[in-house]
Amino acid sequence: MSARLVADSRAGVVKAGPGRRNWAGLAWIAPAATMYGLFVLYPLTQTARYSLYEWDGFGEARFVGVANYQRLLTEPELRSSISHSFVLIGFFSILPMLLGLVCAVALARMDKNVFGSGARTVLFLPQVIPLVGAGIAWTWAYSTSGYVNQILGWLRLEGWARPWLSDFATALPAVGLIGTWVSFGFCTVLLLAGISRIDPHLLEAARLDGAAYWQELRHVIVPGLRREVAIGLTVTTVAALATFDIVYVSTNGGPGYATMVPGVEIYRLTFLSQEVGAASALALALIVLVLVVVTPIQLLMRDD
């Protein structure tokens, strides 16, 4: 039995009306739905179509069935690019969420003064900067004579100075930290909004019961942030799996293949190798991967 709800403007009460369609609702979503259909759904079907062919984008296409998908499973570079994007989930998603939680909790206590709102603005700035700009700035910072090595020099830690983005061991974490920097402010602001949404009566009740601050945190605040955590994790995980800008600008998949990710691989297959079919297959595989990772997050965090 499905409930169909119709808003009744006279009584302002929601009424159940079986068999009556919500035409007003459809009209409101029509523009957005059209855009979505045109720019997301239609290209998606075309990508699925291209993935069955061997095509360079302009000339004749040759039907090859699932050959492109088989390639995904056999070529080691394509497999390692997927494992790299999982590593990036840790940096783009989990680390910023943890840091954001700490920051949001700290900021919530000083929310009332100017410092609080100023801090929020500054923290959110990395989200506003185009990813390409962030990537370029960080590439300079990570270079042999860049800020990171300079700061290490001031701290008398010159032994640790190295070209971070060109060293095989540090390249992927270094790229990951760029993403942490970008997402951290977003997570902080999101969780801060969530904290302000928590019913103050709950916090008061906990305090009256004699809870210390960390107990308050553990039993009231963190559970109350479930929705925000789910949203934040979803958005940042998708960003991690689909990342292109940061990696392309900073390392272009190098050194060697140490930072190759599916996004850059798709770009290369399409524009450099001109293998649109293989790129489409990888793109679809990426979509499936994102769904596989995000669905459990959504299910786990559902509060009902």
């Binding site: 079907t45 291209y50 360079d56 000339g59 004749e60 042999t144 070209p163 060293d167 272009n252 290369r268």
Partner: protein, 446 residues
């Protein structure tokens, strides 16, 4: 909100599957027949007329505008517009640009990819006959010829010509050379390695090169050709000829040599972090005795402070043939151009006119080829060295194309990553050789 619409997700899935399968069955994307084939026979024009658009990469705009001005002076009825685009963007977008409704007449392309097969660029053999290019030394055109299969180069129809050629070699910092007592450029590979050792002992960085985006590939290619004893194996490989392979001792030895140089400290410590703008900057600032690069750097070095000279990569044994890579700065003629005659006249002009050839050397940093009896541009300093070196090589047929041009993506996908692994000691030389050949077969075999 916990309303469960149990049937809706199922409906959605069914609909999308249906949609996907219908569209999948909708026939293949792309078109087989694209451009009209040129019909009438062509002839050399005395006075070009009409509008001409030339699309080049941004650093070349000034040079081509100078050429355009000279061309317009000789052909007052023609109007040439030079447009520039970022080099990478141009390489990526070339097919789109050429299949648009109003493409440029001439476009500068490093490699042609599938453009010839997809008939987006026009063969130039009829113009070659009309203007007499077919009587010139033909090795200059080899790299721009593509066979009918669309992949094999070095033979077949001609698809691009240009004002001049880039040429590789080694730049030497004369002041640092004095410090280690080096008066003449090394004449053999052995002498080069002694110079490297001497520089390292003096605390001078022996070789400055960009490992991030392919400068080290120059060294590898030169070493391979030296150790193989002839450039033939490399030439066949770069041209994608049937059965071409770089597997073998020469390549492995070259990789081992290069890895040894890195381990002995002959290359900069952060070589994999240096890119093609950082390398010449650091070299002109005095870091590095040798800088393997090409004649395109010569104008910049002549203007920089310090004394530099240029020499070709020495052969393995004394008396042998020096090896070098060259690639023509080629313009292709769009198949949909509406003024191909004027475009061809421009192509002839840049190759033969004395003023244009001089501009090529002094402004373009390239060396012109053209007819055997063409005027030799005047040049001194490092640029003069490069002109002399090129003439020597053309005469002895020692020109080979760059490894990077074997396919449109082999540099970025295979050559540079494996070199980075090799120089970081994460790959053995024989592994390098097999990875290189495997990558090549994947990219060219399809």
């Amino acid at each position: 909100m916990s309303i469960h619409e149990n049937r809706r997700p199922a409906h959605a899935v069914l609909v999308s599957v249906a949609l996907l399968s219908t569209l999948a069955a909708c026939g293949s994307p792309g078109t087989a027949d694209t451009s009209p084939t040129p019909s009438a026979s062509v002839s050399a024009v005395e006075n070009a007329e009409g509008d001409l658009t030339v699309l080049v990469s941004t650093p070349d705009v000034a040079f081509y505008e100078a050429l355009a001005e000279a061309f317009e002076k000789q052909n007052p009825d023609v109007d040439v517009t030079v447009e520039g685009q970022d080099y990478n963007a141009l390489a990526t977008n070339a097919p789109r640009i050429l299949s648009a409704s109003n493409p440029p007449d001439l476009i500068k392309l490093g490699s042609f990819g599938n453009l010839a097969k997809d008939e987006l660029i026009r063969p130039l053999d009829d113009y070659a006959e009309a203007y007499g290019w077919d009587a010139w030394p033909q090795s200059q055109f080899a790299a721009a010829r593509i066979a009918d299969d669309g992949i094999t180069r070095g033979e077949g129809q001609l698809y691009g010509v240009g004002p001049g050629f880039g040429l590789t070699g080694i730049y030497m910092n004369d002041q640092l050379a004095d410090q280690i007592g080096l008066t003449d450029p090394p004449a053999t590979l052995g002498e080069l390695e002694s110079a490297l050792a001497a520089a390292a002992d003096e605390g001078i960085v022996p070789v400055m090169t960009n490992g991030k985006d392919g400068g080290t590939a120059f060294l590898l290619q030169n070493l391979q050709m030296d150790l193989a004893g002839s450039p033939e194996q490399m030439r066949a490989w770069v041209f994608g000829q049937e059965g071409a392979s770089l597997a073998g001792d020469a390549t492995t030895e070259a990789a081992a040599t290069l890895q040894g140089w890195a381990n002995d400290g002959y290359l900069p410590q952060d070589v994999n972090d240096i890119d093609q703008t950082a390398a010449p900057t650091r070299f002109t600032a005095g870091e590095g005795l040798f800088f393997p690069s090409g004649n395109w750097q010569a104008p910049g070095l002549d203007q920089a402070e310090g004394d530099f000279s240029f020499f070709l990569f020495p052969p393995a044994d004394s008396g042998g043939q020096p090896t070098a890579m060259t690639a023509g700065s080629n313009l292709a003629l769009s198949a949909r151009s509406d003024n191909p005659d004027a475009a061809a006249a421009f192509l002839d002009f840049v190759q033969t006119d004395p003023e244009a050839r001089q501009l090529t050397v002094s402004s373009g940093g390239l060396v012109p080829a053209g007819p055997a009896d063409a005027s030799t541009p005047e040049a001194d300093g490092v640029i003069g060295d490069t002109v002399a070196a090129f003439d020597e090589l053309v005469a002895e047929d020692g020109l080979v194309d760059f490894m990077a041009n074997a396919s449109s993506s082999i540099q970025v996908n295979t050559i540079v990553p494996n070199l980075q692994l090799l120089l970081a000691n994460r790959q053995a030389p024989d592994e390098f050789t097999s990875e290189l050949q495997e990558g090549y077969e994947r990219e060219t075999g399809g």
